[in-house]
C-alpha cells in the first residue's frame, strides 16, 4: 500500500464523512460547513489527479464564492432555525431513499470494485514523423515508401537545417531513400524503419556524404515526446553530423572566457556537461534544461572547444535540435538549431489556457455572457416589489365587473335590468 493509496483512502473517507454530515445535520449552517469541508477534500483529490489548476479553482470558486453565497442566504433567511425533521409528508422517504441508494451503489459499484470492469487504456495515436536534413553536404530528396502507403511520400529539396512538418502515417515498416537533390544520386543506402502506434519520431539524415572517402548519410530516428518533463524547461537534442570524434555539449557558465577545457579543469564545467560524447551519426544526446540564457560550447573528444554558442536562449515549452556539422565554408563547424513547440505539462494552467483560447474560444465567450446574464438576472430578481404587486392586484380586482355596470356607473344612469331593445320600424 503506497502513500498515494493511503492518502486516497483517508481523504476519500473524510469527503464521504463530511457529505454525510451535510445530509443529516439539522442546522443548515452545519450542513454548509460540512459541504465546504467536502469541497476541500475534493480539491485535494484533484491535486492527486494531476489537476493543480482545477484544484485551486475549486477552492476559490466553489468553496470561496458559491458556498459563501449559500451561507449569506442561509443567514439572511434565518434558515438555520427552521427544523428540517418536524413535519414529514412522506415518513417512508428516508428509508426508501437509503435502500434505493444502497442498491444503486451495489449494482454500479460492485463490478468496479471486484475488478470485472476496467477502464480501457489510453488509445495510442497513429505514428507521426517529420524529416530533418542534418547533413551539410547538400539538399536532399527523401522518399518514404511502404506497404501501407498507396503512394510513396516524397520530400524534395530539403535544405540543411530544415525540417518538414509532422505527418501522420499508419503503423508499419517503411523504407527511406535519401538522394542528393542536385545530382539525384543516392547518398545513403535505403534504410528501414518501423513505426508503431504512439510513436512521434524525427527522422534525421545525419552525416556527410563523401564519394571518395566512402562516408554515407545515415538516418537517425529520434523520438520526440512532445511533452515537457518539467515546468519552465526546454528540451535540447544534440546531433553530431560532423565527421570526426564525438562531441559533447557543455554549459560554460556565466563568464565563459575559457577556450580550452581539460578533464580536471574547472569543476563548474564538469558538473554541467549537458550531453556527453554524442558519437558521429550515433544516438543523439537528449536533455532538459531550465529556461534562460547560457553560454554553451561544443567540445571534441579531447575536450577542446570547437564551437561556442554565446548567449544562447533556451525557451520554455520548446524542443530544439542542435545539429553540429561542417560545411565547405566553415571548417570550424556550424550549428543549426531546429525548434518546435512542445506541450506544457499535463493539467498545468498553461495547458488549459492554451486549449481554452484556441479550441474553446467560442464556449468561453458564451459562458462569459451567461455569467453576465446571471448577474443581471439576480439584480432583477432581488428588487423589492412587494407593495407594487399588492396595489396592482387590488386595482385589477375592481375591473372584474360586467361591462354593463361599468358603463352605467360611468354614464350615471341606473343599472339596466333587462337588455335594451333596438327600436323597431313602428315606434
Amino acid at each position: 500500500m503506497g502513500v498515494e493509496a493511503l492518502l486516497f483512502i483517508a481523504v476519500g473517507i473524510l469527503a464521504l464523512a463530511f457529505a454525510f454530515v451535510m445530509l443529516t445535520s439539522n442546522n443548515a449552517v452545519h450542513s454548509a460547513l460540512g459541504l465546504i469541508a467536502n469541497f476541500g477534500c475534493v480539491a485535494f483529490l484533484f491535486l492527486m489527479l494531476d489537476a493543480p489548476f482545477l484544484s485551486m479553482v475549486q477552492v476559490a470558486v466553489y468553496t470561496g464564492a458559491i458556498m459563501v453565497l449559500f451561507l449569506f442566504v442561509i443567514m439572511l433567511l434565518k434558515a438555520e432555525q427552521s427544523s428540517d425533521t418536524t413535519t414529514r409528508s412522506f415518513p417512508w422517504l428516508v428509508g426508501a431513499a437509503t435502500v434505493a441508494g444502497v442498491i444503486l451503489l451495489v449494482v454500479l459499484g460492485g463490478p468496479i470494485v471486484n475488478g470485472s470492469f476496467k477502464l480501457p487504456d489510453q488509445k495510442l495515436a497513429s505514428p507521426s514523423v517529420r524529416l530533418v536534413n542534418a547533413s551539410a553536404t547538400s539538399e536532399l530528396n527523401l522518399t518514404i515508401s511502404g506497404d501501407t502507403l498507396p503512394q510513396p511520400i516524397t520530400v524534395s529539396n530539403l535544405a540543411f537545417g530544415k525540417a518538414t512538418t509532422f505527418e501522420t502515417l499508419p503503423a508499419g515498416t517503411y523504407k527511406v531513400n535519401i538522394k542528393n537533390a542536385e545530382t539525384d544520386k543516392p547518398v545513403a543506402a535505403p534504410q528501414t524503419i518501423t513505426l508503431a502506434n504512439g510513436d512521434v519520431a524525427t527522422l534525421t539524415a545525419a552525416g556527410e556524404f563523401n564519394a571518395t572517402a566512402g562516408t554515407q548519410v545515415k538516418l537517425l530516428s529520434i523520438p520526440t515526446s512532445g511533452k515537457q518533463a518539467g515546468a519552465d524547461e526546454g528540451r535540447l537534442v544534440v546531433v553530431n553530423s560532423a565527421s570526426e570524434s564525438p562531441v559533447s555539449l557543455v554549459d560554460l557558465g556565466p563568464e565563459g572566457a575559457v577556450t580550452t577545457v581539460t578533464r580536471d579543469g574547472s569543476t563548474v564545467l564538469i558538473d554541467r556537461i549537458l550531453a556527453p560524447t554524442v558519437a558521429y551519426q550515433g544516438a543523439p544526446g537528449i536533455f532538459s534544461y531550465p529556461m534562460g540564457m547560457y553560454n554553451l560550447a561544443f567540445l571534441d573528444g579531447a575536450f577542446n572547444v570547437v564551437r561556442r554558442l554565446d548567449n544562447y536562449v533556451i525557451k520554455t515549452d520548446t524542443e530544439t535540435m542542435l545539429v553540429f556539422a561542417r560545411t565547405a565554408d566553415s571548417q570550424d563547424g556550424v550549428v543549426q538549431a531546429i525548434t518546435i513547440n512542445t506541450e506544457p505539462p499535463f493539467g498545468s494552467p498553461k495547458a488549459i489556457g492554451r486549449l481554452l483560447f484556441t479550441d474553446y474560444l467560442l464556449p468561453v465567450n458564451l459562458v462569459g455572457m451567461l455569467l453576465l446574464v446571471a448577474l443581471v438576472g439576480v439584480i432583477v430578481l432581488s428588487r423589492p416589489e412587494a407593495e407594487k404587486s399588492e396595489r396592482r392586484s387590488n386595482v385589477r380586482r375592481k375591473v372584474s365587473r360586467p361591462l354593463i355596470n361599468v358603463i352605467s356607473t360611468q354614464t350615471g344612469s341606473d343599472i339596466v335590468a333587462e337588455t335594451p331593445q333596438l327600436p323597431t320600424g313602428d315606434s
Binding site: 482545477l54 466553489y62 454500479l108 451567461l370 439576480v378
Partner: protein, 103 residues
C-alpha cells in the same frame, strides 16, 4: 499507464458522492439544502471527469470541469435569488409548502 491509485477507485468515490447528493435532494425539506445537495452531485461528476482526463491524458476533461464550475456558479446565483424572492412572498422555504403550481 498504471497509476498507484487506478481511475476506477476515483470513479467509485464519485459514484458514492453522487448517490449521497441524490439522496439529499430527495430527503431534505429545506430548499437551500436541496440546492446544496445538487452542488454535491455536480462536484461528484467533476471528480469523475478529472479522473477520466488523467487516465487518458486528455486535457479536454479539465476544460469540461472548468465550464461545469462556471455554469454552476451562475446557476447558484440565480437559484438563491429565486429562493430569496419566494421567501419574501411565502415566508417559508419548506418545499412542502411551495406547491402553488400543482394542478
Amino acid at each position: 499507464m498504471a497509476y498507484p491509485v487506478p481511475a476506477e477507485f476515483f470513479i467509485v468515490l464519485s459514484m458514492i458522492l453522487f448517490i449521497l447528493g441524490a439522496m439529499g435532494v430527495v430527503m431534505r425539506k429545506n430548499a437551500i439544502l436541496v440546492f446544496m445537495s445538487v452542488e454535491l452531485m455536480l462536484n461528484a461528476s467533476n471528480l469523475a471527469l478529472v479522473a477520466f482526463a488523467r487516465q487518458w491524458q486528455n486535457t479536454n476533461g479539465h476544460i469540461f470541469v472548468f465550464f461545469v464550475m462556471t455554469v454552476a456558479a451562475a446557476e447558484v446565483a440565480i437559484g438563491l435569488a429565486l429562493i430569496v424572492t419566494i421567501f419574501r412572498h411565502k415566508k417559508s422555504i419548506n418545499i412542502d409548502d411551495l406547491h402553488q403550481m400543482e394542478g
